[in-house]
Amino acid sequence: MTFVPARAGAVARKEWFHIRRDPFTLALALVLPLLMVIVYGVAIDFNVKEIHLAVSDLDQSQASRRLIDTFSSSHYFRPRPEASAALATADLSDERARAALIIPPRFEKDLLAGRGAKVQILLDGADNSTVGPISQYVASIQALASRRLAGVDPSPPYQLRTRFLFNPELNSRWFVIPGLTVVIMAILSIFLTALTVAREWENGSMELLLSTPVEPIEIIVGKAAPYAALGILATAFVYVIARGVFGVPFAGHLWVFALGCLLFLVTYLAQGLLISVLTRQQTIAMQFSMLTGMLPSNLLSGFIFPIASMPRLFWYLTMLLPARWFMVISRHAFLEGSGFSELAVPFAALALSCATMVALAARSFRRTLE
C-alpha cells in the first residue's frame, strides 16, 4: 500500500468545501468552544464566595457584633441583618440567603458567665453543592471567633497553616478551563469524523471514491485532516482565552501539552471513524458519538466529578477512557508544569489507547471494504 499525499490532499480539499458550505459543521467547530468557555468559565462558578448570611442578632452586644464581624471580615460571608429569627429563616427558604446565623438574647451574658453560650447556624441542606464548603468555613470561623471572644492571644501553641499548591487561590476556573480543552476536542473530533465519514457511506459516495485509484488510508487521512485542524484551532482558541481572559497560568511545557493534544485527537478521530464504519448512517453515528464520546468525556473524565470519589467499578472503567488520561495531562501541564517523567503513566495510557483505537478503526474499515 502506498500513500500519495497529493490524493489525501485532494480529499482534504473536497472536505474543506463541504465544511465551508455546511453552516452546522462550522458552527459546531467555532461556536461550541466559545459557548462552552462562557458557560463553564463565566456562568458556572464552582467557588463558594460571598455567601449570603442572614443574621438575626437578638443580643445586640459587643460580643455579638464581634462574632458577626468575624464572619464578614472572612470575605466568605456577606451578612444580611434581619430583625427576628423567623425572618432570617424565611430568607433561607426564599433563597435570599444560603445560611442563617441566629444569636440568642443572652449571648454575651452567658459567654461572660462562662455558661457556654449557644449560637445557631442554619444551612440550606437542599443545596448539596454549597453545604459542604460552607460548613467548613463555619468551622474555621468558629475557631477564630472563639479565640477572639475569649480575648486570648490568637496564637495557639502550634499553628496549622494550609497552603494550596499550584492553585493558591483555589480558583475553580483554573481547574475547569484546562479540562475544557479535553471536552471540546473530544466532541469535535468524534462527532465530526463520525458524521462526515458516515455521510460518504450513507449516500454511496464511498463506492465512487474507491472506484478511483485512491487508497483507503488516503481517504481517511484526507477526511480527518480538516477536522483535526479544526480541533487544534479550537484548542488553541481555548488556550488563548484561558491565558488571556481568565488568567489561567501555564506552568508547563507547551510541547508536552501539544503532544498530549495530538495523541488524544488521533485517538478520538479513530473512534469517530470506527463509529462511522459500524453505523454507516449519520443519525445513528451521531447518537453513538454522544454516547461514547461526549458523555464519558464530560462525566467520567474527572472534568466535573472527581474520579477518586467514584464507585470502584466506575473508577476502573475510567481507566479505559482516553479523556481521563488527557484530563490529567492537560491540568498538570497548565497548573503544575509537569514534564514527561511526572506524566509517564497518563502518557503511556493515552498512547496505548491511541494505538488500540487506530488499529481497531483501520481493521474494521479494511474489513468493510472487502
Binding site: 500519495v4 473536497k14 472506484s211 478511483t212
Partner: protein, 307 residues
C-alpha cells in the same frame, strides 16, 4: 470475439463465507460494445461489477480488463475503468468544477490534459452552464450526464454504468442513451445495468444473471430466439375474465408460458398438437395474434424462472 476482447472474465467465483454470490461465470466483451447486464436484485450483478472494477478480488478465477488483471494490482484495473453508479453521482454541495477537479486530482491527471479532456467531455454532453454551478441546482438528467463525464475523465477503455438512468425522465433517458452510443462509437466498451427493458433492447449483447450464475448471453434478438423456440402469441381478452380463470391459464397444459403484459397477455404454445386442440376454444375468449417475444418475456422466463 476473443482476439478483440477488452473485458474478459474467466471462471469468476466470489464467496462470502458459505454464500456464493458469483458462481463460475465467464464471458468476453469486445471493444466498442454496449454490453447489458441484467438480473434480479441479489443475482450477483453488483458483485460481478465490483470485481470487474478492481474493487473486489475474486475468490477464484481471474479478469482481464484491457489487458490487466488482479495480478497487476487493483490500482492497475482502476486506471483502465470508469465507474458511475445510480446511488451516488456527484457531491451536491460542490460545484460542477469542484466535483470534476476532485476526481481529476484523485486520478492524478496532468493539469493540461485534464483541461483538454474536460472541454471535450463537456462538449460531448453539451453542458452549457458555468463550472461554478452548484450540482444541487442541476436537473436529474444533467447531473447524470456530468457524472458520466466524470467517469470518463481519465479516458478509460471500459466504463461501467450501474443503473445510470434510474430516476431520470424518459426524455433524459433517451438523451443519455444517445450519449452511450456516442461513447461506444468512440471505441469505449460500455457495460451497463438497467431495469428498463427498452434500454436493454439497445444493447449489443445482453447477459442475464440468476443466483450468481450467467444463465443467458446473446444479442436481444438472439435471446428471444433461443429462449422462445416455440411460437409466441399476444392474447387480448374480448370480455371480462375473472382473476381465478386467468391465473389458471398460467398452469394450463396448452401453454409453456403465460404472463400478463399490460392489459394483454403473452403466451407460448406448449406443443403444436395441444395448441391446435385448444386454439378454437381460446379464440372465443381472446383476440389472438402471433408476435415476437419481448425482452421482458425473456427476462421473466430466464431470470424469474417461472415454469
Amino acid at each position: 470475439m476473443s482476439e478483440a476482447a477488452v473485458v474478459e472474465a474467466r471462471g469468476l467465483v466470489v464467496r462470502y463465507g458459505d454464500f456464493t454470490a458469483v458462481d463460475r461465470i465467464s464471458f468476453a466483451v469486445g471493444r466498442g460494445e454496449i454490453f447489458g447486464f441484467l438480473g434480479a436484485n441479489g443475482a450477483g450483478k453488483t458483485t460481478t461489477i465490483r470485481v470487474l472494477c478492481g474493487l473486489l478480488p475474486p475468490s477464484e478465477g481471474g479478469v482481464s480488463m484491457a489487458g490487466v488483471g488482479y495480478e497487476q494490482g487493483e490500482r492497475a484495473i482502476k486506471e483502465k475503468v470508469g465507474y458511475m453508479s445510480q446511488r451516488f453521482t456527484l457531491y451536491n454541495d460542490l460545484t460542477v468544477g469542484e466535483n470534476l477537479d476532485f476526481i481529476a486530482s484523485l486520478r492524478k491527471l496532468e493539469p493540461a490534459a485534464y483541461r483538454r479532456r474536460r472541454r471535450e467531455l463537456l462538449e460531448l454532453i453539451a453542458f452549457d452552464k458555468p463550472m461554478s454551478a452548484m450540482v444541487r441546482d442541476l436537473s436529474g438528467g444533467i447531473k447524470q450526464q456530468v457524472s458520466l463525464a466524470a467517469a470518463l475523465l481519465h479516458d478509460p477503455e471500459i466504463v461501467f454504468l450501474d443503473e445510470p438512468t434510474a430516476g431520470v425522465t424518459p426524455v433524459g433517458r433517451e438523451r443519455f442513451w444517445g450519449l452511450i452510443r456516442r461513447v461506444a462509437g468512440g471505441g469505449k466498451t460500455v457495460f451497463v445495468t438497467t431495469h428498463y427493458m427498452d434500454e436493454a433492447e439497445q444493447c449489443g449483447r445482453v447477459a442475464l444473471m440468476r443466483e450468481g450464475r450467467l444463465v443467458a448471453l446473446d444479442s436481444p434478438a438472439g435471446l428471444k430466439k433461443t429462449v422462445f423456440p416455440e411460437p409466441v402469441f399476444e392474447f387480448d381478452p374480448i370480455g371480462r375474465l375473472s382473476f381465478d380463470k386467468l391465473s389458471a391459464y398460467k398452469t394450463h397444459e396448452a401453454f409453456s408460458f403465460f404472463e400478463s403484459y399490460g392489459p394483454r397477455f403473452h403466451a407460448a404454445a406448449a406443443s403444436p398438437e395441444l395448441w391446435a386442440a385448444w386454439a378454437p376454444r381460446l379464440e372465443k375468449l381472446f383476440r389472438i395474434r402471433p408476435i415476437a417475444p419481448s425482452l421482458e418475456d425473456v427476462f421473466i422466463r430466464v431470470v424469474e424462472a417461472r415454469r
